[in-house]
Structure formats: C-alpha cells, structure tokens
Symmetry: C2
Subunit: 299 residues, 2 copies
C-alpha cells in the first residue's frame, strides 16, 4: 500500500479586511475536487489572509493558480496598505510535501505554477525556499526588499529580475513568490516558572539564530492566563530537526535553571510523520513501517 499523496499549500493574499473579496478567492479552491481548505486566517492590521489547503498535488497546484488569477482581478496593490511586508496581490505561495510526495516534486509544482502565472497572468514570479534558483532568493525578506512600491523600479536591476516573466510589475497585482518548503510545526513548551527571563534564555539556547538547533525559531514569552513562562517555537524542518530532539534540548536547558517543561502545545496542524517519528524515537523502535498501522492499512 502506497502512502496517500498529499501536498499542503499556504498561499498568502494581500486582503485581510473585505470578507467578500476573501470569499471569492477562497471559493476558487473550496469548490475543487481533491483538496480541502483547512483554514482561512485573515488579519486586518496586516491586511492579509493566510489560506491553508491540502489534497492531491494536481488539485492543489491548479487551485493555487486559479486563486492567483482571481486575486489579480480583485486586488489593486496601488490601493493596498498593511503592516505585513508584501509585493503582490498573491504575495507568496509555498507548496509543502505532507505524505507520498517528495520535496523535489513540490519544487517542480512551484516552478510550473510560477511559469504559468508569469505567462498566463503577466505577473512576474520569484522562486524561493527549496525551489530558489539563487542563494539570495532562499529567504522571503530578501525577495520582498522594498516591497511592492520599491520593487516597481528595483525589478529592472538584473539582480532583481524575476525567475519567470518580464522585469516589470503587473500594474495592479505586483509580483508573486512561489516555492516549496517543509511543513512548519508550531510547538510551545510551558515551564513551571513565572520568570520569563528563563524562557528567553532557553529560547536563545535552542534556536538557530543564536547558535542552537538548525530549523528552530524560538522566543521566550509570558502566558498570563496560565501564569507560566513559555518557550514558543516554530520547527521549520521536522525531518532534519525532529520534535523529540528539540523538546529534549528545551528540557536540558530549562533544567540548568532548575525548571521543568510541564506541558507542551502543538498549535494547528502537524504532519502525521512528525508524531510517528516522535513515538518511534521515544519508544526506541528500530524498524517501523506505516503499513503496520492498523487504521491506515485498511484505506
């Protein structure tokens, strides 16, 4: 039995205030077969909506294109104001392998969609993250530098030419970034202390940016309603830097202050493999195959 083929896609659109516009864009995906829209998260101050959908690769790829076409009709970047950096009506489209699909296949999806958006919609596109063609295009902030307004001139600089399309912004839809990345896991650890400085010290020790574990973003915050300090984390690549290893490091660093992790939270979605990897690591299971899972074997 093969693993079911599932790709997640989390496109971000530059509209977070007008529900009727958001509905029109989302309905391009929700009426399609072979995928599900799992979450629609608009943010008024960012004036931006983050849509989470998942399903068959072919369906997700087509939906991402149709949503981009619809957003180009409905959003005028010349009128757009919001706190979040952005360069286009459809600002960024990441494809995420969930199961039965490789990262390389998601990169191919990204390249096909980026090419099609440029050719059929006249919107210049950049490839980012695992699909990036150049090291200075791996990170979104590097591509978004100057934002929509600044990119209008900057795009003429050969260093800022798009990967697909002409070096000229679409007059209303701007430009779009398309790419592939691993699933992101929002993972928080609550400590049995109210001293937020300890959570900050632990966060600093475990995160990539200050010398800790790769693929981990972390900060220390206070959770007032639980009266405890929390290490709040994003795990950007659970296959290379797994949940178990991150938690064990948080426990070790907290123990240095005589503090323990009393509870963790997984916020939102998590790939099944991340949990199976955790179970097998902690249970010390040598060889294991998903085919041994009773519930999944009857699909």
């Amino acid at each position: 039995m093969a693993e079911k083929r599932v790709v997640e896609c989390v496109p971000n659109f530059s509209e977070g205030r007008r529900p009727e516009i958001i509905d029109e864009i989302v309905s391009e995906a929700s009426r399609m077969m072979g995928l599900k829209v799992l979450d629609v998260a608009p943010d008024a101050s960012h004036n931006r909506v983050v849509v989470t959908m998942a399903g068959l690769p072919e369906a997700v790829e087509e939906a991402a294109f149709r949503m981009t076409a619809k957003a180009a009709q409905l959003i005028d970047m010349n009128q757009h104001r919001g706190e979040h950096p952005r360069i286009g009506a459809t600002d960024v489209i990441p494809f995420v392998p969930v199961s039965g699909v490789t990262m390389e296949e998601c990169c191919e999806m990204a390249r096909r969609v980026a090419k099609r958006i440029a050719e059929e919609l006249g919107i210049p596109t950049y490839l980012y993250a695992k699909a990036a063609t150049r090291p200075d295009r791996v990170r979104l902030p590097d591509i978004r530098r100057g934002e929509y307004e600044g990119l209008r001139d900057a795009i003429k600089d050969p260093a800022r030419h798009p990967d697909f399309g002409k070096p000229q912004l679409h007059p209303t839809a701007g430009a779009t970034v398309v790419g592939a990345r691993p699933p992101l896991i929002a993972f928080n650890a609550n400590l049995n202390t109210q001293d937020v400085e300890i959570a900050k010290a632990v966060a600093k020790a475990v995160r990539e940016s200050s010398g800790g574990l790769m693929n981990v973003q972390a900060k220390g915050i206070m959770i007032e309603e639980k009266k405890c300090a929390q290490v709040t984390m994003n795990l950007l690549d659970y296959e290379r830097t797994p949940m178990a290893r991150v938690l064990e490091m948080v426990k070790t660093e907290a123990a240095r202050y005589g503090v323990q992790v009393i509870e963790t939270e997984i916020v939102g979605l998590v790939p099944l493999n991340a949990l199976l990897d955790s179970a097998c690591w902690y249970l010390r299971v040598g060889k294991f195959s998903r085919q041994q899972i009773l519930d999944l074997s009857v699909e």
Copy 2:
C-alpha cells in the same frame, strides 16, 4: 471530521494444513466490499489458521458470519487433530475496536453474530472477553476446557450451557466462541546484555501475572542472531496500560541491573492511537486532537 469507523476481527479456524480449504474460507471475506484481509497465518502443527481483517463494522460482522458458515461446511472436527486447544471449526471470533467505534459496539457485534451463528447454523456459541456474560467465561481456556472432544458431554452441564443455541455440539463444526477485546500490541525490548536471566527478571517485574502492570504479558528470551536478551511482551489494553508506561517500567527495571533498552520492536499491526498516545505522552502535549493531523484532515 469524524474518525473513520474501523473494526478489526481475528477469527481462528481449525484448519492449518490444506490451503484450498483455507482459501475458500478467506475468500468469503476477501471478496467483500468495505474490509480488507490483512493477514492469513496458517500453522501446520497447530492445524489452525489465524485471519486478520479490518474495515467497516457492518462488513466485518457479515464477513465473520459468512466465514463461519463456510468453515462449518468444510471442516469436520471429528477428523481434526492439532496442538492448539479448540472447540470448533470456527474456534474463536474476537472483534476489536480500532477507531471511531466503542468497545460496547464491538460487544454488540459479538452478541449479534453469536446469536446468528446459533440460530442459522445450529452451532452453539459462547461469549468471551469484554462480551462475556459471566466471570468464568472471560478467559478462553475456561471456555475451551475439555476441548471439542470433552465438550460433547460437558456442554449438557448447565454451568457449561452455551450463551446462544442448544446445549449440544454441532455434529461436525462443534462450538464457537465470540467476543470483543482491545487491540493486542506485540512489543519487544532488546537489552544490551546477553544474560537472559536479566530479561527474565525484568519480564517478571513488569507482567500482570507476577504482580506487575495490568494487561501486560511478558517473558525473557535470548535472541541469538542479535546476541542480546529480549523482554518479549503482549500489551493487551494499550488505552489502560499504554506503551510509554510499559517501556518506562522496562527501562527502570533493566537499569537496576545496569542494563539498558537499546532497541524495541513492534511486531505486526498497531493501532494509530497507540502511537499518537505515545508521541503525546513523551512530548508532553496537553490537549491534542486527531483533527490536527494534516494528512488525516484531508480525508
């Protein structure tokens, strides 16, 4: 999104030597929609076959009945010899809740099938395990006492009367035991020692029968090809006595001898929930819902 409804059923038939007979019985299930036959394990010395199937409750219930009817046509208990205790052509039919189904629903399935086997096939039936009507019918050995040959007379004793049907064995198919039980997990822990006595001591400490954890069967054996001693276990109720708690106790008991668990094995099938419970326990996740699992949310 509701959990998918899945019941496992592991009927045992008194034929382990003639593949054509086994095939005929198994094909009653394999040609049905809504279930899959996951394993067929014949044993010549036991002269018995263990079939593992899983799927929709209605399909699994119907398949169990049809297989019993077919076995009654093909197997003559008067001719049957084998090492494993047995009382009928279809010896035992356990229903196992896997997901989206309660134990009580599996008990109802057992009662319906047991009644139907008695009424439509003329085979007396006993209810066992979670479906047992009396404490002396919870365990299979108590019901099988005397086996097919001895039960012919013993069944007339009111204490041995069947739960359904007349107190009289079917002339060729004998009697059948039907019931419901939790999924069984075969879980082995390899120790970094070649001293099998340590594995035996750990097994004795953790198992129910000698004062250890409920729902755990364990023994210590030597694995020659790996040159290590092993605690080999059956976990009979992972919800009440979870994998993590069992492994932690094995680790603690082994540590008393300066020995560690270096690897574990899950043999055969395991319910997804058993692994998710393990992941959440070790990762210290407070609240978690299966709906957060990306792959499963798109079904």
